[in-house]
Point group: C2
Amino acid sequence: MIASGVATSYLSHLQCSECGRTFDADRPQNLCACGSPLLARYDLTRLAGALSPAALADRPRTLWRYRELLPVRDDEHVTTLGEGMTPLVALPRLGERLDLSRLALKDEGIGPTGTFKARGAAVGVSRARELGIERVAMPTNGNAGAAWSVYAARAGLAALVVMPIDAPGVTRRECAVAGAQLSLVDGAIADAGAIVARAVADRGWFDVSTLKEPYRLEGKKTMGLELFEQLGARMPDVIIYPAGGGVGLIGIHKAMSELRELGWYDGPFPRLVAVQSAGCAPVVRAYEAGERRAAPWGDGETIAFGINVAKPLGAPLMLDAIYDTGGCAVAVPDPELLDAMHELARLEGAFVCPEGAATVAAARRLRETGWLQRDERVVLLNTGTGLKYPETVTADPPVLRPGDPVPDGH
Amino acid sequence: MIASGVATSYLSHLQCSECGRTFDADRPQNLCACGSPLLARYDLTRLAGALSPAALADRPRTLWRYRELLPVRDDEHVTTLGEGMTPLVALPRLGERLDLSRLALKDEGIGPTGTFKARGAAVGVSRARELGIERVAMPTNGNAGAAWSVYAARAGLAALVVMPIDAPGVTRRECAVAGAQLSLVDGAIADAGAIVARAVADRGWFDVSTLKEPYRLEGKKTMGLELFEQLGARMPDVIIYPAGGGVGLIGIHKAMSELRELGWYDGPFPRLVAVQSAGCAPVVRAYEAGERRAAPWGDGETIAFGINVAKPLGAPLMLDAIYDTGGCAVAVPDPELLDAMHELARLEGAFVCPEGAATVAAARRLRETGWLQRDERVVLLNTGTGLKYPETVTADPPVLRPGDPVPDGH
């Protein structure tokens, strides 16, 4: 299931995303002393001479096909449930409705745990195991905690998860069935984060909170590598992404930079769009003010629970990615994203999570303002399956007795 | 997303599985006049000269890579959400526990709609569309109805679905969000079937009930084709499959026969094992009596709702597949399959549906009796994700206030 034994990681060191200080990649690391996230760096010059995109063709159809650009050194530490290489699905009927002729959905709902969080967990857990870490702890809005719980179980690691009491119910069950140590908090993800920080300080758990260890990001960046491959060594013109912690957006930007440095891609970067709910839009507010740092939002509220992140640690990196690519940030109100969720399902058969649906609503707005042009290649990134959010759909079917006919009109 | 325009279907005709009578494949067909299912037949002699397994390597990683062995003639009718090529995941830790050294899981939970039903719906809907059918109707235990609803939506077809009131709740939402015409029945799938039959007779719906049209089976057979490819042009020694309607089991057997006829495979067939719940085991009872037809079970009851099928139309074909391959049929009680579900998640990180978990319980029993040998290559077929069955897991985590520590012991 993993790439051939010939392939290995080209990881060289870690580097602070703000102050540039470097760190040993082969020891467990969290944030830089300056408080900013560390980024994994690879020996891309050497790799450019050793690997060509064509050599990937025969690799397994999981994210482990990018073995050289991932941090795990030894095959025996790779912890996989088959994650990655999610479908890129054409959306012709929705595209016609939105007046976008080349609209597609990168559907991360189709993967282990039903969300893109599986990517970060697979790589993060694999590398933690390789570095000898035995106990990982994290706050979560649900899906990341579920993903880390199941991958930790597979790797034989202990997992401590704290999530808001309002997080999607099924994610509790995922943590529980995998044997994680789960607590709920009557508060938001920041409150969960504070509880985890204390467990890390007092009880020796290793902190795998968003961007507080460098390898979850490496799993997420594979979405960008895959889009490049799936489009035939091209990039789309625009990628629309629902941004909470923003790791996927930052990761896609990092992937594009690495592809360019490898000499595999020399075209323009796709414009990266961060979509947030109008109920919690710190990055949109910062973007509209032209700033690089985002003030905390206060009490966020949205049905798109995964992007209810009032104070994302990665906001500067997200805003860098947006400015660097000529992208933008857009807020959409909950009713619009719920309508978009139904519209997508009825026209294209894709039942996506509210976060993913937000990208549909954003595409409509951006086309209406002319920011998107009709024939641009636009990819909507759906971060998870609608199956995990059954309450977003009202179903009130008639109940028949045996022998009844179907209701009139059917 | 679909196979190159060069590839096309080698479908030649339809043939009754019992009396052998042949039918025109390019007209809509349901059952034979003798009441038995029709099977799609291909010009395998001609195909053997035109295609080699190696030619598949560069094909898209969906079930449409088997374009020649599928019934859809024209690319424009292919209705896809990226289904197929689900992971084959090694289970080393569970294998050690069960004393099976080469145990793996074919994980159909990783696909559109989260179940293997997507395969049958993708091919069935595509071919229905090609034949000019505009309205499809079916009874379902939930997941097939959900899958047909979303693929019908994508293809622009109307769907009428009737399911038992006890079917998994999320499948109602899937039908609803896709715009299907859904009714519940206060009864079992046979009662739903009777209601659909009346709508077919009185209101002109096309009947796509299990095995009552020939193309759902063609989608399901791709599981067998994929296993052959994923194991490097080999077959496992044993495939353990949770059998309700049994279409997957019948399909895998059909796939093996076609591979042999093509000259691509000349080894022994894997022994096919049908697993049922002890609460609804008509096929197991028939197998134990050495019969080829299964008497109706009466009132079935099991938490593995998808295999609560008291009177499967395909029982003779299932039993043929079992006898032909030297397989067997096993019943497991609900508590065993629930335990197995948790065991699999804790050891391997895979959260599977109760039906899939039944295969774990069956493997344990078959190893204990010596029917399975330690070093045989055994594939468990998980038909769906546990995410659709949240009620099978108890989660009762502590609720903290902001600022609380995690509970002692965490």
